[in-house]
Protein backbone atom coordinates (compact mmCIF):
# COMPACT_ATOMS: atom_id res chain seq x y z
CA UNK A 1 0.00 0.00 0.00
CA UNK A 2 2.66 2.50 0.99
CA UNK A 3 4.84 1.65 -1.96
CA UNK A 4 6.46 4.92 -2.99
CA UNK A 5 6.34 3.95 -6.69
CA UNK A 6 2.54 3.90 -6.61
CA UNK A 7 1.63 7.41 -5.61
CA UNK A 8 -1.34 9.58 -6.52
CA UNK A 9 -1.64 10.99 -10.00
CA UNK A 10 1.29 12.54 -11.71
CA UNK A 11 1.92 13.03 -15.38
CA UNK A 12 4.95 10.77 -15.43
CA UNK A 13 3.23 7.74 -13.94
CA UNK A 14 2.82 4.79 -16.27
CA UNK A 15 -0.75 4.29 -17.43
CA UNK A 16 -0.74 0.64 -16.38
CA UNK A 17 1.55 -0.95 -13.80
CA UNK A 18 1.26 -4.63 -13.03
CA UNK A 19 3.74 -6.14 -10.63
CA UNK A 20 4.04 -9.77 -9.62
CA UNK A 21 0.44 -10.49 -10.54
CA UNK A 22 -0.80 -13.94 -9.61
CA UNK A 23 -4.30 -15.19 -10.17
CA UNK A 24 -6.08 -18.51 -10.15
CA UNK A 25 -9.24 -19.66 -11.86
CA UNK A 26 -10.64 -22.47 -9.76
CA UNK A 27 -7.57 -24.43 -8.69
CA UNK A 28 -5.54 -23.60 -11.78
CA UNK A 29 -2.91 -20.86 -11.55
CA UNK A 30 -3.50 -18.67 -14.60
CA UNK A 31 -1.12 -15.80 -13.86
CA UNK A 32 2.15 -16.71 -12.22
CA UNK A 33 3.95 -13.48 -11.49
CA UNK A 34 3.20 -11.20 -14.43
CA UNK A 35 4.97 -7.83 -14.68
CA UNK A 36 3.68 -5.34 -17.21
CA UNK A 37 4.14 -1.62 -17.61
CA UNK A 38 2.42 0.47 -20.23
CA UNK A 39 3.63 4.03 -20.61
CA UNK A 40 1.58 6.97 -21.81
CA UNK A 41 0.95 6.85 -25.56
CA UNK A 42 2.27 3.33 -25.99
CA UNK A 43 0.52 0.62 -27.98
CA UNK A 44 1.20 -2.72 -26.36
CA UNK A 45 0.01 -6.06 -27.68
CA UNK A 46 -0.45 -8.98 -25.34
CA UNK A 47 0.18 -12.15 -27.29
CA UNK A 48 0.13 -15.83 -26.48
CA UNK A 49 -1.58 -19.10 -27.18
CA UNK A 50 -5.07 -19.87 -25.94
CA UNK A 51 -4.92 -20.49 -22.22
CA UNK A 52 -1.67 -18.58 -21.76
CA UNK A 53 -3.38 -16.12 -19.44
CA UNK A 54 -3.54 -13.05 -21.68
CA UNK A 55 -7.29 -12.54 -21.29
CA UNK A 56 -7.03 -13.07 -17.55
CA UNK A 57 -4.21 -10.54 -17.46
CA UNK A 58 -6.26 -7.74 -19.05
CA UNK A 59 -9.33 -8.67 -17.06
CA UNK A 60 -7.32 -8.38 -13.87
CA UNK A 61 -6.13 -4.93 -15.00
CA UNK A 62 -9.74 -3.72 -15.06
CA UNK A 63 -10.59 -5.46 -11.80
CA UNK A 64 -12.68 -8.30 -13.22
CA UNK A 65 -10.33 -11.00 -11.95
CA UNK A 66 -9.07 -10.69 -8.37
CA UNK A 67 -5.36 -11.19 -7.83
CA UNK A 68 -4.11 -13.62 -5.23
CA UNK A 69 -0.82 -11.72 -5.07
CA UNK A 70 0.87 -8.71 -6.64
CA UNK A 71 -0.44 -5.27 -7.40
CA UNK A 72 -1.99 -3.26 -10.20
CA UNK A 73 -2.18 0.49 -10.67
CA UNK A 74 -3.98 2.54 -13.30
CA UNK A 75 -2.73 6.08 -13.92
CA UNK A 76 -0.66 5.75 -10.75
CA UNK A 77 -3.64 4.91 -8.55
CA UNK A 78 -3.90 1.45 -7.00
CA UNK A 79 -6.74 -0.39 -8.70
CA UNK A 80 -8.64 -0.75 -5.42
CA UNK A 81 -8.93 3.02 -5.14
CA UNK A 82 -9.25 3.79 -8.85
CA UNK A 83 -12.52 5.56 -9.66
CA UNK A 84 -11.87 7.54 -12.84
CA UNK A 85 -13.31 4.90 -15.12
CA UNK A 86 -14.15 7.45 -17.82
CA UNK A 87 -10.42 7.51 -18.60
CA UNK A 88 -10.58 3.83 -19.55
CA UNK A 89 -12.31 2.38 -22.61
CA UNK A 90 -12.82 -1.36 -22.52
CA UNK A 91 -13.66 -3.71 -25.37
CA UNK A 92 -14.54 -7.10 -23.88
CA UNK A 93 -14.08 -10.34 -25.78
CA UNK A 94 -17.46 -10.78 -27.43
CA UNK A 95 -18.78 -12.01 -30.69
CA UNK A 96 -21.98 -9.99 -30.41
CA UNK A 97 -23.16 -6.65 -29.14
CA UNK A 98 -26.78 -7.83 -28.98
CA UNK A 99 -28.80 -8.98 -25.97
CA UNK A 100 -32.29 -10.34 -25.31
CA UNK A 101 -34.08 -7.16 -26.40
CA UNK A 102 -33.52 -5.18 -29.62
CA UNK A 103 -31.28 -2.13 -29.26
CA UNK A 104 -29.93 0.30 -31.81
CA UNK A 105 -26.27 0.94 -32.41
CA UNK A 106 -26.68 4.36 -30.82
CA UNK A 107 -28.33 2.92 -27.70
CA UNK A 108 -25.54 0.40 -27.17
CA UNK A 109 -22.79 2.96 -27.78
CA UNK A 110 -24.53 5.42 -25.42
CA UNK A 111 -23.96 3.08 -22.48
CA UNK A 112 -20.25 3.70 -22.98
CA UNK A 113 -20.85 7.36 -22.19
CA UNK A 114 -22.37 6.63 -18.77
CA UNK A 115 -18.96 6.87 -17.14
CA UNK A 116 -19.07 10.59 -17.95
CA UNK A 117 -22.82 11.08 -17.44
CA UNK A 118 -23.05 9.91 -13.87
CA UNK A 119 -26.79 10.10 -13.39
CA UNK A 120 -27.65 8.73 -16.80
CA UNK A 121 -28.67 12.08 -18.21
CA UNK A 122 -26.96 12.53 -21.54
CA UNK A 123 -26.33 16.17 -22.39
CA UNK A 124 -26.07 17.49 -25.90
CA UNK A 125 -22.28 17.17 -25.67
CA UNK A 126 -22.64 13.54 -24.55
CA UNK A 127 -24.89 12.75 -27.50
CA UNK A 128 -22.41 14.41 -29.85
CA UNK A 129 -19.61 12.28 -28.38
CA UNK A 130 -21.68 9.14 -28.94
CA UNK A 131 -22.31 10.07 -32.57
CA UNK A 132 -18.63 10.90 -33.00
CA UNK A 133 -17.65 7.47 -31.64
CA UNK A 134 -20.08 5.80 -34.05
CA UNK A 135 -18.59 7.83 -36.89
CA UNK A 136 -15.06 6.80 -35.90
CA UNK A 137 -15.84 3.16 -36.60
CA UNK A 138 -17.65 4.01 -39.83
CA UNK A 139 -21.17 3.10 -38.74
CA UNK A 140 -22.74 6.57 -38.88
CA UNK A 141 -25.29 5.42 -41.47
CA UNK A 142 -26.27 2.46 -39.27
CA UNK A 143 -26.64 4.37 -35.97
CA UNK A 144 -30.41 3.89 -35.88
CA UNK A 145 -30.34 0.23 -36.91
CA UNK A 146 -30.78 -2.69 -34.56
CA UNK A 147 -27.44 -4.25 -33.62
CA UNK A 148 -28.87 -7.68 -34.32
CA UNK A 149 -28.99 -6.73 -38.01
CA UNK A 150 -25.21 -6.23 -38.15
CA UNK A 151 -22.46 -8.54 -39.34
CA UNK A 152 -19.80 -9.97 -37.05
CA UNK A 153 -17.23 -7.32 -37.95
CA UNK A 154 -19.79 -4.58 -37.41
CA UNK A 155 -20.57 -5.98 -33.95
CA UNK A 156 -16.90 -5.54 -33.05
CA UNK A 157 -17.03 -1.99 -34.40
CA UNK A 158 -20.03 -1.26 -32.17
CA UNK A 159 -18.16 -2.62 -29.15
CA UNK A 160 -15.17 -0.43 -29.99
CA UNK A 161 -17.37 2.64 -30.52
CA UNK A 162 -18.92 1.97 -27.10
CA UNK A 163 -15.44 2.01 -25.55
CA UNK A 164 -14.54 5.21 -27.44
CA UNK A 165 -17.71 7.04 -26.39
CA UNK A 166 -16.17 8.19 -23.12
CA UNK A 167 -13.16 9.58 -25.03
CA UNK A 168 -10.77 7.47 -22.98
CA UNK A 169 -7.05 8.01 -22.48
CA UNK A 170 -6.50 4.27 -22.20
CA UNK A 171 -8.08 1.71 -24.47
CA UNK A 172 -8.06 -1.92 -23.35
CA UNK A 173 -9.20 -4.40 -25.98
CA UNK A 174 -9.59 -8.15 -25.59
CA UNK A 175 -9.24 -9.82 -29.01
CA UNK A 176 -11.01 -7.07 -30.96
CA UNK A 177 -10.17 -8.82 -34.21
CA UNK A 178 -11.63 -12.21 -33.32
CA UNK A 179 -13.89 -13.41 -36.09
CA UNK A 180 -13.50 -10.23 -38.11
CA UNK A 181 -12.80 -10.40 -41.81
CA UNK A 182 -9.83 -8.63 -43.33
CA UNK A 183 -11.84 -5.71 -44.71
CA UNK A 184 -13.32 -4.95 -41.29
CA UNK A 185 -9.91 -5.46 -39.69
CA UNK A 186 -8.57 -2.69 -41.91
CA UNK A 187 -11.37 -0.38 -40.77
CA UNK A 188 -10.70 -1.23 -37.12
CA UNK A 189 -6.98 -0.69 -37.63
CA UNK A 190 -7.75 2.70 -39.18
CA UNK A 191 -9.86 3.68 -36.17
CA UNK A 192 -7.13 2.56 -33.85
CA UNK A 193 -4.51 4.47 -35.83
CA UNK A 194 -6.47 7.72 -35.39
CA UNK A 195 -6.81 7.08 -31.66
CA UNK A 196 -3.11 6.39 -31.28
CA UNK A 197 -2.26 9.50 -33.28
CA UNK A 198 -4.41 11.48 -30.84
CA UNK A 199 -2.31 10.16 -27.96
CA UNK A 200 -4.44 7.32 -26.65
CA UNK A 201 -2.63 4.54 -24.83
CA UNK A 202 -3.63 1.08 -26.00
CA UNK A 203 -3.31 -2.37 -24.47
CA UNK A 204 -4.75 -5.07 -26.66
CA UNK A 205 -4.90 -8.82 -26.50
CA UNK A 206 -4.31 -10.38 -29.86
CA UNK A 207 -4.33 -13.86 -31.17
CA UNK A 208 -2.18 -12.75 -34.08
CA UNK A 209 -0.85 -9.36 -35.10
CA UNK A 210 -2.80 -9.01 -38.35
CA UNK A 211 -3.84 -5.61 -39.67
CA UNK A 212 -2.84 -3.68 -36.54
CA UNK A 213 0.78 -4.85 -36.67
CA UNK A 214 2.22 -1.50 -37.89
CA UNK A 215 0.72 0.32 -34.90
CA UNK A 216 2.25 -1.84 -32.21
CA UNK A 217 5.18 -0.42 -30.25
CA UNK A 218 5.79 -3.38 -28.03
CA UNK A 219 4.62 -6.95 -27.69
CA UNK A 220 4.38 -8.88 -24.46
CA UNK A 221 4.15 -12.62 -24.95
CA UNK A 222 2.66 -14.82 -22.25
CA UNK A 223 3.10 -18.53 -21.91
CA UNK A 224 1.56 -20.53 -19.06
CA UNK A 225 0.93 -17.36 -17.09
CA UNK A 226 4.47 -16.00 -17.34
CA UNK A 227 5.93 -13.23 -19.49
CA UNK A 228 8.35 -14.87 -21.93
CA UNK A 229 8.95 -11.89 -24.21
CA UNK A 230 8.70 -8.14 -23.70
CA UNK A 231 10.01 -6.08 -26.56
CA UNK A 232 9.51 -5.35 -30.23
CA UNK A 233 6.72 -7.38 -31.87
CA UNK A 234 8.02 -10.78 -32.96
CA UNK A 235 8.15 -11.37 -36.68
CA UNK A 236 5.67 -13.91 -37.88
CA UNK A 237 7.37 -16.93 -39.37
CA UNK A 238 6.50 -19.67 -41.82
CA UNK A 239 2.94 -19.92 -43.04
CA UNK A 240 1.82 -17.59 -40.22
CA UNK A 241 3.45 -14.75 -42.12
CA UNK A 242 0.95 -15.15 -44.93
CA UNK A 243 -1.96 -12.73 -44.78
CA UNK A 244 -4.55 -15.36 -45.61
CA UNK A 245 -3.23 -18.28 -43.61
CA UNK A 246 -5.51 -20.81 -41.96
CA UNK A 247 -6.30 -20.71 -38.27
CA UNK A 248 -6.62 -23.96 -36.44
CA UNK A 249 -8.12 -23.45 -33.03
CA UNK A 250 -7.81 -25.98 -30.22
CA UNK A 251 -11.53 -25.93 -29.50
CA UNK A 252 -12.11 -27.36 -32.95
CA UNK A 253 -9.86 -30.31 -32.22
CA UNK A 254 -12.56 -32.89 -32.74
CA UNK A 255 -13.06 -31.71 -36.30
CA UNK A 256 -10.86 -32.92 -39.12
CA UNK A 257 -7.78 -30.73 -39.08
CA UNK A 258 -7.13 -28.37 -41.95
CA UNK A 259 -3.55 -27.57 -41.24
CA UNK A 260 -3.14 -25.01 -43.97
CA UNK A 261 0.16 -26.58 -44.92
CA UNK A 262 1.45 -25.62 -48.32
CA UNK A 263 0.32 -27.98 -51.00
Amino acid sequence: MSDPAISPLSASDPVITVRGARATLGARPVLRGVDLTVERGEVVALLGANGSGKSTAVRSVIGQVPLTDGEIALFGTPLRRFRQWSRVGYVPQRTTAASGVPATVREVVSSGRLSRARFGLLSRADRAAVDRAIGLVGLADRAGDSVSALSGGQHQRVLIARALASEPELLIMDEPMAGVDLASQEILAGTLRDQVAAGTTVLLVLHELGAVEPLIDRAVVLRDGCVVHDGPPPKAVGQHALPGHDHVHPHAAHEPLRTGLLT
Binding site: I62, G63, Q64, R83, W85, S86, V88, Y90, P92, R94, A97, S99, G100, V101, P102, A103, T104, E107, V108, S110, S111, G112, L114, S115, A117, G120, L122, G144, D145, S146, A149, R162, S166, L182, A183, E186, I187, Q239, L242, P243, G244, H245, D246, G260, L262, T263
Partner: protein
Amino acid sequence: MEILETAFMQRALIAALLVGITAPAIGIYLVQRRQALMGDGIGHVAMTGVGLGFLLSTSPIWTAMAVSIAGAVTMELIRAYGRTRGDIALAMLFYGGMAGGVMLVNMSDTGSTGDLSAFLFGSLSTVSDADLWAIGLLAAFVVLVSVGLRRQLFAVSQDEEFARVTGLPVRALNLLIAVTAAVTVSVAMRVVGLLLVSALMVVPVAAAQQLTRSFRTTFVLAVAIGVAVTLTGTTASYYQDVPPGATIVLLAIAAFIALTALAAPLARRRARLAEAALGVPGDPAGCVAGVPDARRPGDDVRV
Protein backbone atom coordinates in the same frame (compact mmCIF):
# COMPACT_ATOMS: atom_id res chain seq x y z
CA MET B 1 -70.31 2.96 -19.22
CA GLU B 2 -71.90 1.03 -16.41
CA ILE B 3 -68.63 -0.82 -15.82
CA LEU B 4 -67.10 2.37 -14.42
CA GLU B 5 -69.94 2.94 -11.96
CA THR B 6 -69.32 0.08 -9.57
CA ALA B 7 -66.65 0.78 -7.00
CA PHE B 8 -65.06 -2.67 -7.15
CA MET B 9 -64.68 -2.46 -10.93
CA GLN B 10 -63.12 0.98 -10.63
CA ARG B 11 -60.57 -0.47 -8.24
CA ALA B 12 -60.07 -3.50 -10.44
CA LEU B 13 -59.44 -1.38 -13.52
CA ILE B 14 -56.98 0.88 -11.73
CA ALA B 15 -55.11 -2.15 -10.38
CA ALA B 16 -55.09 -3.71 -13.85
CA LEU B 17 -53.76 -0.49 -15.38
CA LEU B 18 -50.92 -0.31 -12.85
CA VAL B 19 -49.98 -3.93 -13.44
CA GLY B 20 -50.12 -3.43 -17.20
CA ILE B 21 -47.56 -0.63 -16.84
CA THR B 22 -45.21 -2.09 -14.24
CA ALA B 23 -44.90 -5.73 -15.27
CA PRO B 24 -43.48 -5.10 -18.77
CA ALA B 25 -41.49 -2.08 -17.54
CA ILE B 26 -39.31 -4.21 -15.27
CA GLY B 27 -39.79 -7.38 -17.32
CA ILE B 28 -37.92 -5.86 -20.26
CA TYR B 29 -34.68 -5.83 -18.24
CA LEU B 30 -35.19 -9.46 -17.23
CA VAL B 31 -35.73 -10.41 -20.87
CA GLN B 32 -32.69 -8.36 -21.88
CA ARG B 33 -30.45 -10.27 -19.45
CA ARG B 34 -32.06 -13.53 -20.55
CA GLN B 35 -33.63 -14.18 -17.16
CA ALA B 36 -37.15 -14.24 -18.50
CA LEU B 37 -38.28 -16.85 -15.98
CA MET B 38 -37.01 -15.02 -12.92
CA GLY B 39 -40.47 -13.52 -12.41
CA ASP B 40 -41.89 -17.02 -12.30
CA GLY B 41 -39.42 -18.00 -9.61
CA ILE B 42 -40.25 -14.93 -7.54
CA GLY B 43 -43.95 -15.78 -7.95
CA HIS B 44 -43.35 -19.20 -6.43
CA VAL B 45 -41.36 -17.78 -3.53
CA ALA B 46 -44.05 -15.16 -2.90
CA MET B 47 -46.47 -17.97 -2.02
CA THR B 48 -44.64 -18.46 1.24
CA GLY B 49 -45.25 -14.77 1.87
CA VAL B 50 -48.96 -15.18 1.21
CA GLY B 51 -49.04 -18.13 3.62
CA LEU B 52 -47.23 -16.03 6.18
CA GLY B 53 -49.84 -13.32 5.76
CA PHE B 54 -52.59 -15.81 6.52
CA LEU B 55 -50.71 -17.13 9.53
CA LEU B 56 -50.12 -13.67 10.96
CA SER B 57 -53.58 -12.45 9.88
CA THR B 58 -52.08 -9.41 8.13
CA SER B 59 -52.41 -8.19 4.55
CA PRO B 60 -50.74 -10.82 2.35
CA ILE B 61 -49.55 -8.10 -0.03
CA TRP B 62 -46.89 -6.88 2.40
CA THR B 63 -45.75 -10.29 3.60
CA ALA B 64 -45.64 -11.51 0.00
CA MET B 65 -43.51 -8.53 -0.88
CA ALA B 66 -41.12 -9.05 2.02
CA VAL B 67 -40.64 -12.74 1.24
CA SER B 68 -40.36 -12.25 -2.52
CA ILE B 69 -37.74 -9.53 -2.03
CA ALA B 70 -35.78 -11.92 0.16
CA GLY B 71 -36.20 -14.61 -2.49
CA ALA B 72 -35.22 -12.35 -5.38
CA VAL B 73 -32.12 -11.12 -3.55
CA THR B 74 -31.15 -14.73 -2.80
CA MET B 75 -31.60 -15.64 -6.47
CA GLU B 76 -29.45 -12.69 -7.53
CA LEU B 77 -26.74 -13.64 -5.05
CA ILE B 78 -26.81 -17.25 -6.24
CA ARG B 79 -26.46 -15.96 -9.80
CA ALA B 80 -23.61 -13.62 -8.93
CA TYR B 81 -21.60 -15.86 -6.63
CA GLY B 82 -22.84 -19.36 -7.38
CA ARG B 83 -20.06 -21.39 -8.86
CA THR B 84 -21.74 -24.77 -9.18
CA ARG B 85 -25.19 -25.60 -10.44
CA GLY B 86 -27.07 -22.39 -9.82
CA ASP B 87 -30.14 -23.99 -11.41
CA ILE B 88 -30.35 -26.61 -8.66
CA ALA B 89 -30.20 -23.93 -5.98
CA LEU B 90 -32.90 -21.98 -7.79
CA ALA B 91 -35.12 -25.06 -8.08
CA MET B 92 -34.82 -25.53 -4.30
CA LEU B 93 -35.87 -21.94 -3.78
CA PHE B 94 -38.84 -22.15 -6.19
CA TYR B 95 -40.36 -25.34 -4.86
CA GLY B 96 -39.42 -24.61 -1.28
CA GLY B 97 -41.31 -21.33 -1.63
CA MET B 98 -44.37 -23.03 -3.04
CA ALA B 99 -44.40 -25.81 -0.45
CA GLY B 100 -43.82 -23.27 2.32
CA GLY B 101 -46.87 -21.32 1.17
CA VAL B 102 -49.16 -24.36 1.22
CA MET B 103 -47.80 -25.40 4.60
CA LEU B 104 -48.22 -22.00 6.23
CA VAL B 105 -51.74 -21.48 4.88
CA ASN B 106 -52.88 -24.78 6.27
CA MET B 107 -51.25 -24.05 9.64
CA SER B 108 -53.15 -20.79 9.96
CA ASP B 109 -56.55 -20.65 11.65
CA THR B 110 -58.27 -18.73 8.89
CA GLY B 111 -56.88 -20.10 5.67
CA SER B 112 -57.05 -23.28 3.65
CA THR B 113 -55.41 -24.29 0.40
CA GLY B 114 -58.53 -23.06 -1.34
CA ASP B 115 -57.81 -19.51 -0.21
CA LEU B 116 -54.48 -19.66 -2.01
CA SER B 117 -56.13 -19.90 -5.39
CA ALA B 118 -57.17 -16.23 -5.26
CA PHE B 119 -53.45 -15.43 -5.11
CA LEU B 120 -52.34 -18.11 -7.54
CA PHE B 121 -54.67 -17.05 -10.34
CA GLY B 122 -55.68 -13.52 -9.38
CA SER B 123 -58.92 -12.22 -8.00
CA LEU B 124 -59.66 -8.72 -9.13
CA SER B 125 -63.03 -8.41 -7.45
CA THR B 126 -61.46 -8.70 -4.01
CA VAL B 127 -59.13 -5.71 -4.42
CA SER B 128 -59.85 -3.48 -1.43
CA ASP B 129 -59.17 0.23 -1.01
CA ALA B 130 -56.19 -0.56 1.20
CA ASP B 131 -54.86 -2.96 -1.43
CA LEU B 132 -55.23 -0.27 -4.06
CA TRP B 133 -53.15 2.16 -2.03
CA ALA B 134 -50.46 -0.46 -1.60
CA ILE B 135 -50.51 -1.34 -5.30
CA GLY B 136 -50.33 2.33 -6.26
CA LEU B 137 -47.40 3.02 -3.97
CA LEU B 138 -45.45 -0.01 -5.14
CA ALA B 139 -46.24 0.70 -8.79
CA ALA B 140 -44.87 4.22 -8.38
CA PHE B 141 -41.62 2.74 -7.07
CA VAL B 142 -41.37 0.31 -9.99
CA VAL B 143 -41.98 3.05 -12.58
CA LEU B 144 -39.51 5.36 -10.88
CA VAL B 145 -36.78 2.72 -11.03
CA SER B 146 -37.47 1.28 -14.47
CA VAL B 147 -37.84 4.65 -16.20
CA GLY B 148 -35.59 6.86 -14.07
CA LEU B 149 -32.62 4.50 -14.16
CA ARG B 150 -33.25 3.15 -17.66
CA ARG B 151 -29.80 3.95 -19.02
CA GLN B 152 -27.99 2.36 -16.09
CA LEU B 153 -30.25 -0.70 -16.06
CA PHE B 154 -29.91 -1.00 -19.84
CA ALA B 155 -26.11 -0.93 -19.60
CA VAL B 156 -25.99 -3.48 -16.78
CA SER B 157 -28.44 -5.82 -18.51
CA GLN B 158 -26.71 -5.44 -21.87
CA ASP B 159 -23.17 -6.22 -20.78
CA GLU B 160 -22.42 -6.60 -17.09
CA GLU B 161 -18.66 -6.75 -17.47
CA PHE B 162 -18.53 -3.60 -19.56
CA ALA B 163 -20.88 -1.82 -17.17
CA ARG B 164 -18.50 -2.55 -14.32
CA VAL B 165 -15.65 -0.91 -16.24
CA THR B 166 -17.72 2.23 -16.77
CA GLY B 167 -17.76 2.50 -12.97
CA LEU B 168 -21.46 1.73 -12.54
CA PRO B 169 -22.37 0.09 -9.20
CA VAL B 170 -23.22 -3.17 -10.96
CA ARG B 171 -23.95 -5.24 -7.87
CA ALA B 172 -26.31 -2.62 -6.45
CA LEU B 173 -28.10 -2.25 -9.78
CA ASN B 174 -28.52 -6.02 -10.12
CA LEU B 175 -30.03 -6.16 -6.66
CA LEU B 176 -32.26 -3.22 -7.52
CA ILE B 177 -33.58 -5.08 -10.58
CA ALA B 178 -34.23 -8.15 -8.41
CA VAL B 179 -36.01 -6.12 -5.72
CA THR B 180 -38.06 -4.20 -8.27
CA ALA B 181 -39.10 -7.45 -9.94
CA ALA B 182 -40.16 -8.78 -6.54
CA VAL B 183 -42.18 -5.65 -5.84
CA THR B 184 -43.83 -6.01 -9.25
CA VAL B 185 -44.83 -9.56 -8.41
CA SER B 186 -46.59 -8.37 -5.26
CA VAL B 187 -48.29 -5.63 -7.28
CA ALA B 188 -49.51 -8.06 -9.93
CA MET B 189 -50.45 -10.83 -7.52
CA ARG B 190 -54.05 -9.68 -7.11
CA VAL B 191 -54.62 -9.06 -10.79
CA VAL B 192 -53.08 -11.95 -12.70
CA GLY B 193 -51.99 -14.19 -9.83
CA LEU B 194 -48.60 -15.46 -8.78
CA LEU B 195 -48.47 -18.29 -11.30
CA LEU B 196 -49.24 -16.03 -14.25
CA VAL B 197 -47.39 -12.85 -13.25
CA SER B 198 -44.25 -13.81 -15.11
CA ALA B 199 -46.25 -14.00 -18.35
CA LEU B 200 -47.12 -10.34 -18.07
CA MET B 201 -43.47 -9.46 -17.51
CA VAL B 202 -42.27 -11.41 -20.51
CA VAL B 203 -44.97 -11.81 -23.17
CA PRO B 204 -45.64 -8.10 -23.90
CA VAL B 205 -41.88 -7.57 -24.30
CA ALA B 206 -41.59 -10.58 -26.57
CA ALA B 207 -44.58 -9.35 -28.60
CA ALA B 208 -43.20 -5.82 -28.91
CA GLN B 209 -39.77 -6.90 -30.07
CA GLN B 210 -41.25 -8.69 -33.05
CA LEU B 211 -41.64 -5.25 -34.61
CA THR B 212 -39.10 -2.99 -32.99
CA ARG B 213 -35.49 -2.13 -33.62
CA SER B 214 -34.65 -0.02 -30.57
CA PHE B 215 -34.85 -0.55 -26.84
CA ARG B 216 -36.84 2.62 -26.38
CA THR B 217 -39.67 1.63 -28.77
CA THR B 218 -39.65 -1.89 -27.37
CA PHE B 219 -40.15 -0.44 -23.90
CA VAL B 220 -42.99 1.87 -24.94
CA LEU B 221 -44.74 -0.73 -27.09
CA ALA B 222 -44.42 -3.43 -24.40
CA VAL B 223 -46.03 -1.15 -21.82
CA ALA B 224 -48.77 -0.23 -24.30
CA ILE B 225 -49.47 -3.91 -24.98
CA GLY B 226 -49.40 -4.63 -21.24
CA VAL B 227 -51.95 -1.90 -20.51
CA ALA B 228 -54.14 -2.92 -23.45
CA VAL B 229 -54.34 -6.59 -22.45
CA THR B 230 -54.86 -5.98 -18.72
CA LEU B 231 -57.65 -3.47 -19.32
CA THR B 232 -59.29 -5.59 -22.02
CA GLY B 233 -58.99 -8.74 -19.91
CA THR B 234 -60.48 -7.07 -16.85
CA THR B 235 -63.35 -5.61 -18.85
CA ALA B 236 -64.00 -8.97 -20.50
CA SER B 237 -64.13 -10.66 -17.12
CA TYR B 238 -66.80 -8.18 -16.07
CA TYR B 239 -69.11 -8.85 -19.01
CA GLN B 240 -68.40 -12.53 -19.47
CA ASP B 241 -67.81 -14.81 -16.54
CA VAL B 242 -64.16 -15.52 -17.32
CA PRO B 243 -61.18 -15.44 -14.91
CA PRO B 244 -59.31 -12.13 -15.45
CA GLY B 245 -55.77 -13.47 -14.96
CA ALA B 246 -56.10 -16.21 -17.54
CA THR B 247 -57.90 -13.88 -19.97
CA ILE B 248 -55.15 -11.29 -19.67
CA VAL B 249 -52.39 -13.80 -20.32
CA LEU B 250 -54.18 -15.38 -23.27
CA LEU B 251 -54.77 -11.92 -24.75
CA ALA B 252 -51.07 -11.14 -24.37
CA ILE B 253 -50.17 -14.34 -26.18
CA ALA B 254 -52.69 -13.48 -28.90
CA ALA B 255 -50.97 -10.10 -29.25
CA PHE B 256 -47.64 -11.90 -29.56
CA ILE B 257 -48.98 -14.14 -32.33
CA ALA B 258 -50.59 -11.22 -34.16
CA LEU B 259 -47.41 -9.12 -34.05
CA THR B 260 -45.28 -12.08 -35.10
CA ALA B 261 -47.53 -12.50 -38.14
CA LEU B 262 -47.10 -8.79 -38.86
CA ALA B 263 -43.34 -8.92 -38.47
CA ALA B 264 -42.51 -10.78 -41.69
CA PRO B 265 -44.27 -8.38 -44.09
CA LEU B 266 -42.87 -5.43 -42.14
CA ALA B 267 -39.33 -6.78 -42.41
CA ARG B 268 -39.82 -7.29 -46.15
CA ARG B 269 -41.03 -3.73 -46.52
CA ARG B 270 -38.04 -2.40 -44.56
CA ALA B 271 -35.70 -4.45 -46.73
CA ARG B 272 -37.31 -3.00 -49.86
CA LEU B 273 -36.94 0.52 -48.50
CA ALA B 274 -33.30 -0.13 -47.60
CA GLU B 275 -32.65 -1.41 -51.08
CA ALA B 276 -34.39 1.57 -52.62
CA ALA B 277 -32.17 3.84 -50.51
CA LEU B 278 -29.09 2.16 -51.95
CA GLY B 279 -30.10 2.69 -55.54
CA VAL B 280 -32.23 1.28 -58.36
CA PRO B 281 -32.95 -2.44 -57.80
CA GLY B 282 -30.82 -4.53 -60.06
CA ASP B 283 -28.20 -1.82 -60.39
CA PRO B 284 -24.87 -3.64 -60.14
CA ALA B 285 -23.18 -0.44 -59.00
CA GLY B 286 -25.00 -0.80 -55.69
CA CYS B 287 -23.34 -4.15 -55.12
CA VAL B 288 -19.66 -3.32 -55.30
CA ALA B 289 -19.31 -0.34 -53.00
CA GLY B 290 -17.52 0.13 -49.75
CA VAL B 291 -15.25 -2.87 -49.26
CA PRO B 292 -11.54 -2.08 -49.53
CA ASP B 293 -9.40 -4.54 -51.45
CA ALA B 294 -7.87 -7.26 -49.36
CA ARG B 295 -4.09 -7.47 -49.26
CA ARG B 296 -2.52 -9.93 -51.62
CA PRO B 297 0.27 -12.34 -50.72
CA GLY B 298 3.62 -10.85 -51.63
CA ASP B 299 4.85 -14.02 -53.29
CA ASP B 300 3.35 -16.78 -55.33
CA VAL B 301 2.71 -19.13 -52.43
CA ARG B 302 -0.85 -20.32 -52.24
CA VAL B 303 -2.48 -21.70 -49.17
